[in-house]
């Protein structure tokens, strides 16, 4: 059992969720509330990581963050180390490939709120912040929870992009999914089996908790 790989995966997943949560709420809310020209294209762009092969996405991210790119050079001039094959680079890639998993469920969550409920909040004199905090977030909560769980579980399991952008540096970019692959390559099926089982358990608990919470909030509201 490669504990450092598991810790790294959990850390990466937690940070990804932490960054995408406010970003997803903002984008999901904006996409649900507004209609604008070219909205379909914006949505298509945000959904792109869903359909792109991870290696393709990984390749472009590698090029975009590499030492020859402006982003990579800027990062290196700032922190004195390359962005690719680092935890920070991996986190950036993770945030990007999780965008659809975070934004789409939240957008659906906000879209499910009846427009009159927002109108009613305005007629009650509620500020935008108060409306978001007191009305919209609680009502979109199932979508937000789904987004968090999907993003977390998907980060734990992502393989292609991580391998392309992060390589497999122990303690820095070697996540549990890659560690499993390594174990199998080394004919250590027992080690791979243990880690796979741990990953399976974590994912099951996360998804199960999300479904349970959603079901409970639904019965409470319609009870």
């Amino acid at each position: 059992m490669d504990w450092s790989a598991l810790t790294l995966s959990l850390k990466l997943a937690a940070w990804t969720v932490l960054i995408l949560l406010p970003l997803g709420i903002w984008a999901g809310h904006a996409l649900a509330a507004h209609h604008f020209r070219g909205k379909a294209w914006v949505e298509a762009l945000l959904a792109l990581p869903l359909v792109l092969p991870p290696t393709v996405l990984g390749y472009y991210l590698l090029v975009a963050m590499g030492g020859a790119s402006p982003v990579g050079q800027f990062y290196e001039s700032l922190f004195g180390k390359p962005l690719v094959f680092s935890f920070e680079g991996l986190l950036l890639a993770s945030v990007i490939f999780n965008i659809p998993f975070a934004i789409q469920p939240m957008q659906r969550g906000f879209e499910a709120i009846a427009p009159e409920v927002r109108d009613a909040a305005a007629c009650c004199g509620l500020s935008r912040w108060r409306t978001l905090w007191r009305i919209e977030l609680p009502l979109a909560w199932p979508g937000i929870l789904s987004a968090v769980v999907l993003t977390f579980a998907h980060t734990l399991g992502e393989f292609g992009v991580v391998l392309m952008v992060g390589g497999s540096i122990p303690g820095e970019t070697k996540t549990v999914a890659i560690a499993i692959y390594d174990r199998v390559q080394a004919f250590d099926t027992a080690g791979a089996g243990v880690m796979s089982a741990v990953l399976l358990l974590i994912s099951l608990v996360a998804i199960g908790a999300a479904y349970f919470t959603n079901a409970r909030s639904r019965t409470r509201r319609h009870g």
Binding site: V117, A120, L126, S127, I135, R221
Partner: protein, 376 residues
């Protein structure tokens, strides 16, 4: 008018509007019209939920909207109490918290007690902690009214508030609103497509069609003395005919018209000069059936007769269609109690006599281009 609400709005699209309304504090103004006539649009514009092309809205001396001066106050800063058609309660909050959300400008300490008081006023004591889904339709409507009142609004806007409840509940809510409105110091604008509802609850009636306010007035007056053929049709008056003005008899307060070769006496309406063509209308309540067995004195007033061509039992009433002066001309419509029809043996084919009460004959300009069917 310094107090109350004054609205003047106009736009060509996407939803056409051409509306001018006023409503004084404590009065109920009913907006009626068919679906799609712009009733809800107008209400949303008053609340600021919809941007309108041009016009102005003044409430209690405050300017909420003035397109010329570029004033457009946000919804949250207009003090409106809005009861939505499906109530739009906050589904995750209890009745109490639904109401408390509307009183955020009060000190936190007194909100809960005030909210309980408002809920008690709409007879919801004891149900404060229920979420909307655990309340009946009528109870939800009351929470919505309580929430709207808790805002201490300058105007109360009710969008078909009785459409989502059953008949018995509706009758009870009518009585409650009628009671409640006696204590309300703000103008109330009620959107409805139900004329009886408007007649029962409103002080003023505004007939709206395709976004235009066609006529505003006291409900009974609008429904018996429409300003145009269009209004007559919108308020459900079916007896609309053409005639020529013969002259005025000011001594007897009558205007004489000629209709299908017969002279009829109408209430004095000197706005129409002798010789002009008019459209006239008579509400069904001003058509009196002659008793077939025992003629009486009142029958001398504008007597007409003809065969019943249709006799339709509608609950406790019978709807009669009577051909006057031939079957190919527009018939007269009237409704009589079912027992009267039975006692007089009225069925299809029977010849009956009617009196058109002069008081009920109302004249309108004839040249109404929007008349869909050409009455004769």
């Amino acid at each position: 008018m310094a107090e109350g609400i004054r609205i003047r709005l106009r736009q060509h699209g996407p939803i056409p509007l051409d509306a001018a309304l006023e409503c004084a504090p404590g009065k109920v103004l009913a907006l009626v019209g068919p679906s799609g006539s712009g009733k809800t649009t107008l209400l949303r514009a008053i609340a600021g939920l919809l941007r309108v092309g041009e016009g102005e809205i003044h409430s209690n001396g405050d300017c909420w909207f003035d397109s010329r001066r570029g004033v457009d106050v946000e919804t949250r800063r207009r003090r409106v109490g809005y009861v939505f058609q499906n109530y739009a309660l906050f589904p995750h909050l209890s009745a109490l918290h639904n109401v408390m959300e509307a009183m955020l400008d009060r000190p936190a300490a007194e909100r809960e007690q005030r909210a309980r008081d408002v809920l008690a006023r709409v007879r919801l004591s004891g149900l404060e902690n229920r979420v909307p889904a655990a309340l009946s339709g009528g109870q939800q409507q009351r929470v919505a009214v309580a929430r709207a009142l808790a805002r201490e609004p300058q105007v109360l806007l009710l969008d078909e508030p009785f459409s989502a409840v059953d008949r018995a509940t509706r009758q009870r809510l009518y009585r409650e609103l009628a009671e409640l409105r006696r204590d309300l110091a703000m103008p109330v604008i009620l959107v409805t497509h139900d004329l009886d509802e408007a007649l029962m609850l409103a002080d003023q009636l505004c007939v709206l069609h395709q976004g235009r306010t066609l006529q505003v007035g006291e409900p009974y007056a609008v429904m018996t003395r429409p300003a145009s053929v269009e209004v007559a049709q919108l308020v459900g008056l079916r007896n609309v005919f053409r005639a020529g003005v013969v002259g005025h008899d000011e001594a007897r307060a009558l205007t004489i018209i000629e209709w299908r070769g017969q002279r009829l006496e109408a209430r004095l309406q000197t706005a129409f000069a002798p010789g002009t063509q008019v459209t006239w209308v008579i509400p069904q309540g001003h058509i009196v059936l002659h008793r077939r067995d025992r003629p009486s004195r009142g029958e001398r007033e504008n007597p007409v007769s003809g065969p019943v061509i249709e006799c339709l039992l509608l609950g406790e009433n019978v709807a009669l269609t009577v051909a006057v002066n031939g079957p190919d001309r527009p018939p007269l419509f009237l409704s009589i109690p079912a027992h009267v029809a039975r006692r007089n043996d009225i069925t299809a084919g029977v010849e009956i006599g009617l009196s058109l009460l002069a008081e009920g004959i109302h004249l309108m300009p004839a040249d109404d281009a929007r008349t869909p069917s050409r009455p004769r």
